[in-house]
Point group: C2
Chain length 269, copies 2
């Protein structure tokens, strides 16, 4: 029996236009995160939203620890959604880890991607010699431990860090609920695939045009790590968003919308 | 006898268009630095180039240590050139210290400025508590000493640092010649006015729309100092140039041209 990809990934297609924009959520999140951004594009573009297997309203029974042990499995989701909808030359907008997931997918199937926009993305979260990723091995293994032993405590810790904007406490509260809505095992394996990735050596081979959008005060990705992207991707542009925290598409959707419009591949307009 | 501003500041007006773009050079430099950038704008804009008094082909006898002891004097040059040409609502593109000179001028006479674009600008070069400007007091006073005692050595030291791009040694050679073409006393006073400025507290009061263009590997302005600008200027945007060194308008003119076009105030098109 063929897999129903659209059901598996809870694919939603809206909007009017020849050019497709696909919005891909980050770790711990779901397509709901894009709700304040997508409507601005539905008039002129076909908009594709989806949940990675294991996240949001995806078919959780389709999850396998083997396939999703690394970001390759998530990149396969992106490719399969594109193929199922018969999409090519899409504009892929990925938040956080979806920047690297889109990069992997574009490496395997370049014809699917016209452009990749990545928001608050990092090629590697772990520090390394001469590289500041923002996390050391201890803090990552401590986080993975906490996710196993006390999932609630982990969500209560991470949500305000990622959300920042302390004057709008509902952002952290909502993100905490979002994190808690995840399956504990799946979330932990996704965290591991995310926080242990190292894409630094791959960036220079990517031919897809890249736009990097980095919050001025990202609390997860240090500026230095984001700058690594623009230095290594051969065809790339870098804009700083006037936004604090790691979720600007939720906290500052008008800023994200503005720069998607401004940087969208001109030939697609 | 009225001062001939156009002669004093060696003002050059070219191009066709209603909207004026004024290009302002940085410390140690002259309007010549813009030669690879301006021609792209002459078809659609009126282009104004000038040299600050004491720099380039300005009337050096008009220099006074009193007027130019701080950046205010240089801001007066900008205002006087605008008034002499009867300009209003200009787009001001300033390299390095001209970012702050334009900001001072806009504070005094906001109606003259539609938009300020600043390339490799910094609100303060000196380090301070919780602020990384890139220089400590010792290195600044050492540089000012060297400018007094051995001007040639100073130029030989600074040119390759600012120019970077070691694979194109002509950039450092040309910039060294440019630095050496300056009057030693004037250059030292301009260096002092530049490197001891602190505009941090003023930025939040600026109403002019600002575009900050920062080289990905600026060798003079640390990224953190440039980011300070976008966090403080109320109406500001920040783009990272794929460019190494402090003189991207000389080393990567196509990149600078591209982003001036992309960010130019839409209502001015």
């Amino acid at each position: 029996m063929a897999v129903d990809i659209q059901k598996r990934n809870h694919v939603q297609v809206t909007g009017n236009g020849e050019q497709t924009i696909m919005f891909a959520h980050g770790f711990g999140s779901s397509q709901q995160a894009w709700k304040q951004v997508v409507q601005a594009f539905e008039e002129d573009y076909k908009v594709v939203l989806f949940d990675y297997v294991g996240s949001g309203n995806s078919a959780k029974h389709a999850y396998s620890s083997d396939r999703y042990q690394s970001l390759e499995g998530y990149a396969e989701d992106v490719i399969e959604v594109c193929d199922d909808l018969n999409l090519k030359n899409i504009i892929f907008v990925g938040h956080s880890v979806s920047g690297m997931i889109g990069t992997i997918a574009a490496g395997k199937r370049p014809e699917l991607f016209r452009q990749i926009m990545m928001i608050a993305a990092s090629p590697r979260y772990l520090n390394d010699e001469g590289y500041h990723g923002g996390f050391d091995e201890e803090s990552i293994s401590g986080m993975l431990d906490m996710m196993e032993k006390n999932f609630n405590e982990w969500a209560r810790y991470l949500a305000p860090v990622a959300s920042k904007n302390e004057d709008r406490p509902e952002l952290a509260e909502n993100f905490e609920q979002q994190l808690l809505s995840n399956d504990q095992l799946i979330a932990r394996e996704f965290a591991k695939a995310t926080f242990l990735v190292d894409m630094r050596a791959d960036l220079k081979h990517v031919e897809t045009p890249i736009v990097i959008m980095q919050p001025s005060d990202d609390t997860i990705v240090p500026h230095e790590a984001a700058l690594y992207l623009v230095k290594e991707f051969p065809d790339s542009e870098f804009v700083v968003l006037k936004a604090t925290g790691h979720n600007p598409h939720i906290s500052h959707p008008e800023e994200v919308t503005k720069y998607i419009r401004k940087y969208i591949a001109v030939e697609a307009l």
